[in-house]
Every structure is written in C-alpha cells, then in structure tokens.
Amino acid sequence: MAETFDALIVGAGHNGLVAASYLARAGKRVLVLEQQPQVGGAAVTEELFPGFRFSSVAEGTGRLVAHVAADLQLHKHGLKLLPIDALLTAALPAGGRLSFYSDTARTAAEIARHSKADAARWPDFCAAMQCLAAVVARLMMLIPPALPAPSGRDLLELLKLVAPARRLNRKQLGDLVRTLPMPVSDMLDEWFECDALKAALAVDGVHGVSLGPRQAGTAFVWLLALAAGQVPAFAAASQLQGGVGALTQALAKAATSMGAQLRLNAAVQQVVVKAGRAAGVVLASGEEISAQVVISNADPRTTFQRLLDPLEVDPVFLRSTGTIKYRGCSARMHLALSGVPRFAFDATARIRIAPSINYIEQASDAAKYGTWSQQPWLDVTLPTLADATLAPPGQHVLSIHAQYAPYHLRSQDWDTQRATLGSAILSTLAQFAPDVPQLVLHSQVLTPLDLERNYGLPEGSATHGEMTLDQALHMRPIPDCAQYRTPIKQLYLCGAGTHPGGGCTGINGHNAARQVLRDWG
C-alpha cells in the first residue's frame, strides 16, 4: 500500500516550507510537493549565466519573523548574514545622494545635507513609525477574525492586539486608523519637506502594487512593509550570503531535519475532494497520494480555479476568487558585469532611483493606461560587493527591480516589448552609472508575463494577489477564506495570497500551520 500522510503541502515556496516545518515539528507526517526542480518559489538564487548567480525574483527578504527563524534554527542550517553598512542610497540628479543607516543620528546627519528641518524631525518620525509598526507586526501574526461574525476563538485571538495597542496613546491609535487609507505621499507630507527624502521612502508604499504614491491606501502598503522589515531604510543591516535562495535552502533543510519529506519535479494536478473534504492530490504523472489535509502554497486563483474540480466548489465562491486583483506591475532585470560600475557613491547598499514623488507618480501613470513606464523607478542591487561567491572573480551581478510594467498591456504584448523595456531600464540606470552598458556581459529581463510563466506567479503578482487595503486582513484573499481555511474542508492556504500578504516573512506559513493544528486538536 502507498504511504499515506497527515498533510500534503502543494508548493515549496518559503511559506510552504515554513508550514511543513511547524507541522512536522508537531509530529505530523508531512510531504511537500514542488513542481519545480528546486525549492524556493519566488525566493531563489539561480545561475542565470554560467558562473553568475542571481536572486532572480525576490531581491531581499522580509524580516523572516524572528521567532520563526529561531523556532526553525535556521542558523544551524547554513543561513549566514553578511553585515552591510548603508541600508539604502537614493541616487539623486547631478551626482547627489541620500543614504540611510541603521543609526538614526547618522541618517539625520545625511538628511541635514538636504533639509535641516527634516533632519530634526527624523528621530521623531522613526519613533512614531516604529510604534505603529509594532502594532501592525502583531496584527500580522494573528489569524484574522471571520468578520462580521467572529467566533469566540477569533475574539480571543484579537485580544492579542490589546497589549501592543495599549502602548500607543490615544493620539497614536487615532493616527494609525487615520493613516491606513491615506496616500503614502500625504502621510510623508505631514512630516517632511524634502522631496528626495519623501520619494526615497514612498517607493515602499507602491512596491509591488499597481498604484502611485498619491493613491489612497498606499500608506497602508508602506506600514505593512515596514512591519515586515521590507522598507530598506528601516531594514536589517545585513545581506544573505548566497542570495535570497539561501533562505529557502535553509528552510528546506530545517523542514527535512524535522521529518518533513520533500519531492521536487512533482506538480500537483488536482486536489482530490471527496464529499466536500480534501482527501489528497493527484500529480501530473497520475500518481495519487492521500492525506488528511492538503495545504496549498499556490496562489488562491490557481488553487481554486486550477487545482480543484469545479464541480466541487460552490459557484458563487468560485466566481469571487476570479475577482481577486493580481495586477503584477514589476519587472526584473539581471546583468552580469565585467566590473564594478561607477556610481557617484558607495554602491553596497540598495540603490534607489526615484528622485521625486512626481517621478514615481508619473511612472505610475503608465500603469493606469496599460503601458509601461519610459522612466521607471528602480531599485538596484550589486550583491557581489559584499558576497563574492555570486560571480566569477572580479566580475559582478547587478539586479534591478523596475516599476511600472503592468501585466496587462493595452495594445502591445510582452514578447515584443521585453527588449525595449530592458533598454529603457538600462538607459535610466545609465543616467547614474554611465559605464554600465559597456560592462554588460549578459542580461535578462523578466516581465510580469515571464514571472507568470517561469515562476507560476499569476499576472506576475509578487504577492499572489495585489497587496491593497481591500485585499488585506480578514479580506485576504477574499472574506470567505481569510483564515487559511477554505470552503473545502481540510484544504488550507498558506501562501502569500493569505494574510498578511507577500514578502519573505514566513508568517503566512506559520499562521496557516497554527490554524491547521488548532483545527486538528
């Protein structure tokens, strides 16, 4: 008789691996099925050109929530952090720059070169934001309540918010509620006068969403990113040795060391449903594996519309899964370089090319009308400056995150636009490092279509569904399945399409495992 499992996990993205680890740790027999020949999903390091290894999709990682990293003892499984000095450098016209450091005073001194008033406000801004972020961070760890009719267990869960919220005074609490639906530019306008400073921060309110900084709700995106450790100006001063893939490699080792089994090149074709309950999966090879629960690391649309027999899913629910906004609008560009490009500043930190709020807003206009930005904002990293293992000696890898490149183009298609987008990105970059084009040995552009084709991210959405206020919290991915559970009993979601959203935080997988174990008990 074939081996049976307690839990099957569809997908070895970082969230699937985190969920697998927690379930295995709780004594469950777990099998992770990954369609790709490698683990990691969107968090991978890949040798795109011989000898050159890139963090091909996700550039950085969120703060993999400290207690997840500790629980899973990732340091024991080869995870190594390399210290870096600056966190982020905003490249400004005419050789200008604005750098951010983990030391508040040092950043303030840097800001003072642009605005004395803003430099003076910087420490207060940091303190206020960290305060709000602490509450948001707690919120992210919750299994969201089923609203409008929460269960007793939901209310107990919400009690966990009381302690961090108590640390805020009434004004701060009011500020939090007021801030969430704001445009990130308005939020920053209330603090600062220097456009370059505001722009360098505002990018994180539109990272991975199809919105511009003057659109409502982007302050929420910003706060969420802040709490997840994804606002570089406030992130950890370290870089993963071996690129982002090192994280998922370590997670895979942690999961297997706890007893989970892992199978690569094992695409799940269908989740088997019997009498309204998930009972196992069928692989593309035809092999059937049964289990008591199935947990999908795939995005909600794929899970509900491709992995289930539609006859088993309530049509109204199925239709609502079709309304989830994905709207990927980011492109990646990878360059193998023969040497270090000459920037007007030290390039070890992430470099941000987004010199003003208007610049970002104008770039976002393109997305509204179904074209890509001729002048995109860019996040540029040169990880080989700190980690020489990623390229042959003396040579370098450079990766760019560019926005906006909407998945849905009005009158063109990505197969014909890919190369022109690449040129636009490169010429934008060359304004700040004119020698880059001469250094390029190899290059690759990943449009949202490529992210969909190569990494299974529908519409190229980094977050398995756009990370907007209306698709957040108890409404993520949609209200009917926002608690990691689905209308199919024993079928759970654990990917970025669930609360608290995208980014390599591991929280989705952690919370999903908690829910599964709670329901088991």
């Binding site: 309204g276 519309q305 539609p310 309530d314 049509p315 199925l318 239709r319 079709g322």
Partner: protein, 395 residues
C-alpha cells in the same frame, strides 16, 4: 417600452381586447377577445396557439456541456438522451430554487435550455474552469406553444404524420411549410401539447401555416389569462407568483427549495455533486419545512359567507396570484399562492404551501376569503396535484 415579439404582426391583428402585459421585456397578449374564456376552452377542448417567444433560451455545447448542466441542474442530465427533454429546476448553493426550465439534448453534446429569467451569468459562473460554450439564443429563436387535445392532429397536418410518433418530453426536427422547426412535446398547460422553435424570420409564416392547419379544428390564439388558469389546474408553479427566485430576494424566508415546492422528485442526490447538493441532502434527512399542495375550496362554505351579505357567490374571473393565509383550527399553517375557478372541473382550485403535517389529501383546512372588505374563512380540502391530468397529455 416592451418590444414586439416575432409574432407581433399576427398577435396584434387578433388582439381585439388591446389588453397586453409585459413578459420579459416583450408585449404579450392577456387575451385576444374581450373575455378569455373561449381561449381557455380552446386549450382544454380543442387547441390553442400561444406566443412563448419571451422565454429565455440558451444553447450549451462544448466538451464539458454535460458537466456544466449536471453541476447546475438538480436532475441527472446524463439521463437525457439525444432527442429527449427533461424538466428541471436549478438551485443556489443553499439548495434554494433560482429558476426552472427544460433541457433538450438536440444532438450529441448540444443542449438547449429554457428559463423564465435571464440565466447567462449564473450558467457562466458555474462554467468557471470548464470547457463549455453558452450562447444566449433567446433572440434568435421564435417560440410558439401549440396546446390542447387536438394539438397533435393539427401538428401532423402541418408537419407531417411522422409527428404522431413524438412522445411526451421528446424532441424532433421537422419542416412546416418548408421551414425548419424544432419541436418538443412539452408545455405549460398540463394537456397534450407541443412547443415549436424557429428562426424569427420565419415566425409569421409559421404562425400562418399553423393557423391554417388548425382552422378546421377550431385552433385559436390564447393569451396569458387563459394560460394562467390552465397551469393552476395542471398544478404547475409560476416563478415570482408561487415562489420567488433565490436570486430575486435577499431574505431567506422568501426562498424555497425543490422539496418545499413538491419538486423533490427532480432532486437526484445520487448523481454526484451539484450546486446545492449538500443543503438538499441535509433537508431530505430533516424533512422539508413546507409542502406544496392543492386546495379545493368548498363551494358551500364560500356560498354561506356571501349569503350573510345577501349576495350570491362570487368567483374569481381570472386566476389570482397573491399570498393568502391558510389555517387549521384558527392557527395559520401556510399560505395559498395562486388560485382560479376551473370552468372544466367546476371547482375553485388553489395552489398552497402549508406545513407538511397537514399535507395529506382530504385534510380539511380553511383559507381566508375577503368579502365586502371583511375577512372570513372558507373551508377547503387538501388535494394532491395536479387537479387536472388527462390521459392524452402523455399518450
């Protein structure tokens, strides 16, 4: 403004009463003469031609056509052979009726579905993930009902003697005066009858050909008022009158399940999963909250009430369709939803939804009767449906 149906030039010419109603956006004759009784008798004793073009019609085809229909419909569409027609309701995910209609398998894997309400969106929602094409053919098919004990003879006259072989709830393609017509032996009268579907461009010539063939057998056009009477006699429910589509109300109390509407025989729990199955399975275990029955209003009892006012009994001239309380021992047990005087049966017949423990035929109940703006109770007897079920309907 309601729009004219493809038969309008013919129906309008006959419509001496100028009495029209709106039906799904179309003008539909209430009655052609100043009184509808001759139209009623035509349906029951000869034959009548009824313009049913306003029905919604869909063509479902493609690899997963059967899968889609079996997902939506409560009956097992796999049992619908080519050339067969099935009557079936369809429900929402809570097992509450959205609408009902017929499914005809025209050719292998090609189905025509009729519906009272627009259903494209619901069918398409259910088609998510399936390879199936759903065409709204409502406007590309003109439709006529030819109903009554002589309908068969008239049809054979018009379309050839082969139609004599067409059995109850079967489909045939035929030619009438050189026009292609798709014919099902179905109807909404509970009598012998056919429904004919044709190209709207042929509509007027089709009407003329049938009228000509039917003239020796006293065929006449019939309107909605006559139809409403016969459908009550036949125990056929009318959406928006006897029940409300679950898509047309947000209040659960206003929705109904097939079991509550006497349509439990259409619910095939064993056929595999379909929309509403889980809820319907639970309901079957539990028992339905309501039963749909006929009420035979007792003449003597009603006459007594009128007598108190010094009046002769007064019977409704047309079918009515509004909720009227039904009682047992002064306790309300349900509601009547439509009723009519049946000239053929010489009975006052009513459709009602009552608590199941009172549903046994013969149970005496009372129905509210308002006389001179005063409320009274008239005696009625629970009756099995249909009230009228002539052998020639199926023969």
């Amino acid at each position: 403004m309601p729009r004219p149906s493809p038969f309008y030039s013919r129906t309008a010419a006959l419509c001496e009463s100028h009495s029209w109603q709106e039906w799904s956006g179309f003008l539909s004759a209430n009655m052609y003469e100043l009184h509808h009784l001759r139209e009623y008798y035509a349906i029951r004793t000869a034959a009548a031609l009824i313009d049913i073009s306003p029905l919604y019609k869909y063509l479902v085809h493609g690899r997963d056509a059967l899968k889609l229909l079996n997902r939506v419909m409560t009956r097992d569409i796999a049992r619908c052979a080519v050339g067969q027609v099935l009557y079936t309701p369809w429900c929402d995910e809570h097992g509450r009726i959205i609408d009902d209609g017929t499914v005809t398998q025209l050719a292998p894997g090609r189905y025509r579905v009729t519906a009272a309400d627009p259903s494209l969106r619901w069918f398409e929602d259910n088609a998510t993930g399936l390879q199936v094409q759903i065409d709204d053919i409502s406007d590309s098919l003109a439709a006529l009902a030819l109903q009554g004990p002589l309908a068969g003879e008239i049809l054979q006259q018009a379309a050839g003697p082969a139609l004599a072989q067409l059995k109850y709830f079967r489909h045939a393609s035929a030619a009438i005066a050189g026009m292609d017509v798709s014919i099902t032996r179905t109807g909404y009268t509970g009598d012998l009858g056919y429904e004919l579907f044709a190209d709207p461009a042929d509509a007027e010539r089709l009407w003329d050909a049938l009228m000509e063939a039917g003239q020796p057998r006293l065929l006449r056009a019939a309107g909605q008022l006559a139809l409403d009477m016969v459908r009550i006699e036949a125990g056929l429910l009318l959406v928006a009158v006897d029940f409300i589509s679950s898509k047309k109300t947000v209040f659960d109390v206003q929705k109904s399940t097939p079991y509550e509407l006497g349509l439990g025989w259409t619910v095939m729990l064993e056929k595999g999963n379909f929309v509403g199955r889980a809820a319907l399975a639970a309901e079957r275990e539990r028992g339905a909250a309501w039963a749909t029955v006929g009420l035979d209003v007792q003449w003597d009892s009603l006459e007594q009430i009128y007598k108190r006012y010094g009046m002769p009994i007064h019977l409704p001239e047309t079918a009515w369709g509004n909720a009227v309380p039904v009682y047992s021992d002064e306790v309300q047990i349900g509601r009547a939803t439509s009723g009519t005087w049946s000239p053929l049966l010489k009975k006052y017949v009513v459709l009602a939804r009552i608590q199941p423990q009172y549903a046994k035929p013969g149970t005496p109940v009372c129905m509210e009767a308002t006389v001179e703006a005063q409320r009274h109770m008239t005696a009625a007897r629970v009756t099995a449906l249909p009230f009228y079920n002539p052998p020639h309907k199926r023969a």
